[in-house]
Amino acid sequence: MKILVCISKVPDTTAKIAFTDNNTAFDTNGVSFIINPYDEWYALVRGLEIKEAQGGSVTVLNVGEADNDPTIRKALAIGADDAVRININPKDAQQAAKQIAHYASENGFDMVLCGKETIDYNGSQVAGMVAAFLDQPFISNAIKLDMDGNTAKIERDIQGGKEVLEVNTPFVLSAAKGMAEARIPNMRGIMAARTKPLNVVEPTAFDDTTEVLSYELPPAKGDCKMVSADNPAELLELLRNEAKII
């Protein structure tokens, strides 16, 4: 199996969310960055498990600029064979997807694995767009992936339950919790990652379809109204008469 795993770089889950330049840019001051958890914990690790069981290769791909390299190296340390960075800071999901699809169609993969969403822009966009550009089936929010020859048996989350389906390669999938257990890179992996190939390729021309004009923080919550533990019934009265939600 020739597997492509798309990884994006996002702020650490505990990062303070603030904006600069008149609220037009995310304030990266003091923020540390990680591989998007869905990409690392689920898409990458499941890709590696499939490769380990059946042979093949796992390539990780990131669309971004050179400051993403340390994040990409971490994916190599976890076990990917090689990495590709497409050298452009994508302004929107379609731009990123176009670059990924272009690389994937030139190089031919049995499957493209993405995360279900990035935890910063929460798009849930790129994977489905890659599928459309490649004209391949798209399976979103997958929680299990098993290969039997060229047929994938996939379980995915649906409203109110789960669905089991089959699809032949090639396909594009977005991964959610359940696909694998996160792996922590060991010393050998970290050493090996230093010499694994990280190829930089130049982007193809493609215009952005959307742009962020500005950001805004939600208004701070007012004070929390305290109710005495001796009389919890008062809480229900407040929820009914003041908040009017029960």
């Binding site: 767009m129 391949q136 798209f138 109110g160 089991v164 533990a229 908040a243």
Partner: protein
Amino acid sequence: MSILVYSNAVNNKIHKSAHEAVSYAAQLAEKTSDSVTAIVVGEVSDADSLGKFGANKVLHSKNEKLNDFQPSLIAQLIQAAAEAEGAKTIVFIHDLVGKSIAPVLSARMGAGLVSGAVDLPKIDGDGSIKKAVFSGKAYAHVKVNTAAKVISVMPNSLEKKEFNVDATIESFDADLGDAKISVKEQKMESTDLPLTEAEKVVSAGRGLKGPENWGMIEELAKELGAATACSRPVSDMDWRPHHEHVGQTGVAIRPNLYIAVGISGAIQHLAGVNQSKVIVVINTDPEAPFFKSADYGIVGDAFEVVPKLVEAAKSMNLSDN
């Protein structure tokens, strides 16, 4: 021109998310003087209910290739409908269905996609659309630079206004590619109230000490007509099923009421629940960070407070609303 809305149906009935999507489109159409066309797929017994929320026309497709969920083929069908209707704006709900189809459609059409919209486009201003980012910790105002737009709307974000239009229903079909996905089985959860659709949620964390103590949480949920949820460690330890895990790495929800019992309020937990309209926190520790994000709080022992709440709820007879 018309605004096209993908309307999902479950068990032959229009899903409430479709009513929400149509109502969003109708509120937008009021400002842009467009009409609203909804598109539904498969056997549906109540397609006319879409008129109540503002659909002027319903396109109904019974193409058998769509019997199994095929995002790529549904996107083809919707694209054909958009061309037939001259629609430049296509609306989805940002749930598991919308997340599967909207990006495929947007790339096929070369149309900009705004996912997780929480408001109508600013028609009188710069046209931008407000969407949730950073797991609800911020908003972005996004402008679409293409003539066609795809908008997927965050569930429960706009009032579901009624318009009471008499919708005309037409059958619709298009030439679709091959169905490549074959669905083998669906495993539905036994609960009648899926967490993501619940308007009220009672959630509990490690403060409850063990799975044997969830009886009172379930009872309180039942009295309030709420669904149950939990923090991540609770589902990791298998005290509760995984589908109840809310937060950054679990399900993100935005109910009208979220009651958190014995949950500290870690930032990753908040990421999945901070868009709830009203948050109630019950915790023994007055310093628990969750109180900072709460509207109402009780500092107290869950094992004393929750049973009293159950009693009070019973005497108020709340479960029917």
